[in-house]
């Protein structure tokens, strides 16, 4: 029974594909986190809750007879404004402060969101059906749900769109400038306050897209946000800050790693193995840092 994955070659392919599709979706959430972490130096614990809220938007569209895939468009628009409002109410007060304070503040937002969603939508686990069917490869031995393929495709579209936007647009340049040196950007006439609000809004919008995709591929529930926060945190840590292609790679890598851990170590070690990997990477980073001599100039 052990190492079934090596006895059945098709399982290996299945695991790799499942992992990649899952990883791309996670990378999208991590993308938003990396962006606002890099620009505002804020670790957003409420990231996962924004994802779930985005999921509920798609779910409600589904309930009212609109195909949930439209959520991919509607959800980020609504979530952008939710993000800006959160920024204006809370984040702008902690943005220049210690990292610890921002963690506490976003942790508070996370709890608030969970309870509000529970209050508004109920504690039932829900999902939206896309009715997309399945793609079968190799005589039905490898199956890929079309909803997962759709999710991965949409994630890639949004990720590429974001990269282009950051490179070409005025706001994108302003965001990058602020990320490099907020003070210098301010002196040169960039309205950093506006940049911060937009960054937080863009992050929330990305969460909205991911949430809509999760509602059609997995399930949503008011208290299910935290795993998404942790996963994206991990992806960003592994990739390193400000390394957007790295986020995509580490997202997919983690997805595949998780699938293989599931087959080889067992499902119960799936999440645990990801944490172990995180620890190993951090230790390795620390080791590499300690090799580098630093001195005050």
């Amino acid at each position: 029974m052990d190492f079934l994955i090596f006895q059945v070659p098709m399982l290996t392919l299945q695991a790799v594909l499942d992992g990649l599709l899952l990883g791309i979706l996670f990378a999208l959430i991590a993308y938003g986190m990396a962006l606002q972490w890099g620009v505002m130096n804020i670790i957003n614990i409420a990231q996962g809750d924004l994802v779930i809220l985005g999921g509920y938007i798609a779910y409600f569209m589904y309930l009212y007879g609109i195909h949930p895939a439209w959520g991919v468009i509607v959800s980020p628009i609504i979530m952008y404004f939710v993000g800006v409002i959160i920024y204006k109410l809370v984040i702008n007060k902690v943005v220049d402060r210690d990292l610890f304070i921002s963690i506490l503040a976003t942790f508070g937002i996370s709890i608030l969101f969970m309870q509000l969603m529970n209050f508004a939508f109920g504690a039932d686990v829900v999902l939206a059906n896309s009715g997309y069917g399945t793609t079968m490869l190799f005589d039905n031995s490898v199956t890929l749900p079309n909803s997962k393929i759709f999710s991965a495709f949409i994630s890639i579209v949004f990720a590429i769109g974001l990269v282009i936007y950051m490179k070409k647009s005025k706001l994108g340049r302003a965001i990058r400038a602020t990320a490099q040196n907020a003070r210098a950007a301010k002196i040169l006439g960039v309205d950093t306050e506006k940049v911060y609000a937009a960054t937080f809004g863009i992050n929330a919008a990305l969460c909205g897209v991911a949430g809509a995709l999760i509602s059609i591929t997995f399930t949503i529930h008011p208290y299910m946000g935290l795993p998404y926060t942790i996963r994206s945190f991990m992806i960003v840590i592994v990739a390193g800050l400000g390394n957007l292609p790295g986020v995509a790679m580490s997202g997919m890598g983690l997805g595949v790693f998780e699938e293989f851990a599931d087959y080889i170590l067992g499902t119960e070690f799936r999440i645990g193995s990801v944490f172990l990997l995180l620890v190993l990477i951090l230790v390795y980073r620390r080791f590499k840092l300690s090799k580098k001599r630093e001195y005050l100039k």
Partner: protein
């Protein structure tokens, strides 16, 4: 600053006054028997918490309307003090403590879920407060030697036992190959132990034994293994999330398995959320409205369901039915004990042997109900895509014949 202090003193004085006046509410005031319950009205169990509360309330109203409880020649009415435990075991234990030592409650009704019942049981045990609970099925509740805990429901390890035995029977008495995936929580792991026992007794083999982490909502790896190993039975238990995820991904990955057995199908509203994809799933249930048990208060399951729907606007899940049954048990025990002495009521509870619309109730030494088998229903859909849960086992109550093996996805 001074004014603030004065306000604080004033408020706390009122609070103290209020709390002392609460103490004077004891178990029986005038013609009222006051029961206490910590219920999850907010937090992750809030929907099932509300089902539980609705069940309790409906039974209280019904018993009071039909003459109340007769003890020592006097008629009493039930009343319940509720507190919201926020789906949090620590909070539940605190509230139990508060109900007993501050509010003076001498009889308790259980909370929702095994975890919260586990948190409360040591408290009620310490004070010798009899508790009839309807929503904690974990086997570990009944092996601790609690004397004051009584559960109207069958323990968790029996949930899917029937499914394995049915599969073996259909296999001509020969053992079957089982694939199972269980969430890592007290309840689901108890269900798993029950399967292990059943497998051992029937000579069945467990070929996949996955433990699902609580935060996981992707079972693709488990299902890919199932596809590769082709077991006879697939068993999944992971609360509503597990049931919904399993059905979604089994349909998406076109996993063909002759029998699929699960828990929490009705709580997950499987047939509503998944429609035809949930067809043929076998679900363990404590109760189903078509069962033919009877009592004087609710008549039978169908009448109960109709009355419940009139009151609350939805079909009662088994969580509500078993909660209602808990009050019938209390009434019966009070009348037989003919006193409010906690110890005598406890003994009367232990000697319970009755039938309710929900099932027969008779407690074993550990407090679990041993006289009510679990039922299995199967989700069956018509051509128009309308799905219904039909009881298929045990045969005595079956309203439809089990469809076995499940047709392949390519033939559906």
């Amino acid at each position: 600053m001074k004014i603030k202090n004065i306000i604080i003193t004033f408020v706390s004085a009122i609070a103290i006054l209020f709390s002392t006046s609460v103490v004077s509410i004891a178990k029986v005031v005038g013609d009222k028997i006051i029961l206490g319950a910590a219920i999850s009205l907010t937090g992750k169990y809030s929907s099932n918490g509300v089902h539980t509360q609705n069940g309790y309330n409906m039974a209280v109203d019904r018993i009071n309307e039909m003459g109340g409880v007769k003890v020592g020649g006097k008629t009493y009415k039930f009343d319940i003090i509720y507190y919201d435990d926020e789906s949090n075991p620590k909070r539940a234990a605190q509230l139990a403590e508060r109900l007993i030592s501050q509010d003076g409650v001498e009889f308790m009704l259980g909370p929702y879920s095994s975890g919260l019942t586990k948190a409360i049981a040591p408290v009620t045990e310490k004070y010798g407060v009899p508790m009839v609970e309807a929503n904690g099925a974990s086997r570990s509740l009944f092996t601790k030697g609690y004397k004051y805990l009584f559960a109207v429901l069958a323990p968790a390890n029996l949930y899917l036992d029937v499914a394995i035995r049915t599969a073996v029977e259909l296999n001509g008495g020969k053992g079957v190959r089982i694939a199972q995936a269980f969430e890592q929580d007290a309840f689901s792991q108890d269900v798993r132990l029950g399967i292990l026992d059943a497998a051992k007794e029937t000579g069945s083999k467990i070929i996949i034994d996955d433990k699902l982490p609580k935060e996981l909502n992707d079972m693709a790896a488990t299902l890919a293994k199932v596809k590769a190993t082709k077991p006879d039975v697939l068993v999944v238990s992971g609360h509503t999330k597990g049931a919904l995820t399993a059905i979604r991904q089994i349909a998406e990955m076109k996993v063909d398995v002759p029998m699929l057995a699960m828990t929490h199908c009705d709580a997950a509203k499987l047939s509503k959320q998944h429609g035809k994809n949930s067809q043929y799933a076998l679900c363990a249930s404590q109760w189903h409205k078509t069962l033919t048990y009877k009592d004087d208060f609710f008549k039978d399951g169908m009448t109960y369901a109709a009355d419940f729907e009139k009151l609350f606007g939805y079909d009662p899940p088994y969580q509500s039915a078993e909660s209602s049954a808990a009050l019938l048990v209390f009434k019966d025990a009070f009348e037989r004990a003919n006193t409010f002495d906690q110890k005598k009521v406890r003994d009367a509870l232990a000697a319970t042997n009755m039938q309710t619309f929900y099932g027969n109730i008779k407690f074993a030494e550990g407090g679990q109900n041993v006289d009510k088998p679990m039922v299995l229903f199967q989700v069956m859909c018509d051509d128009a895509g309308k799905c219904e849960n039909k009881v298929v086992a045990p045969l005595k109550w079956a309203s439809a014949e089990l469809i076995h093996p499940i047709p392949k996805w390519s033939e559906r």
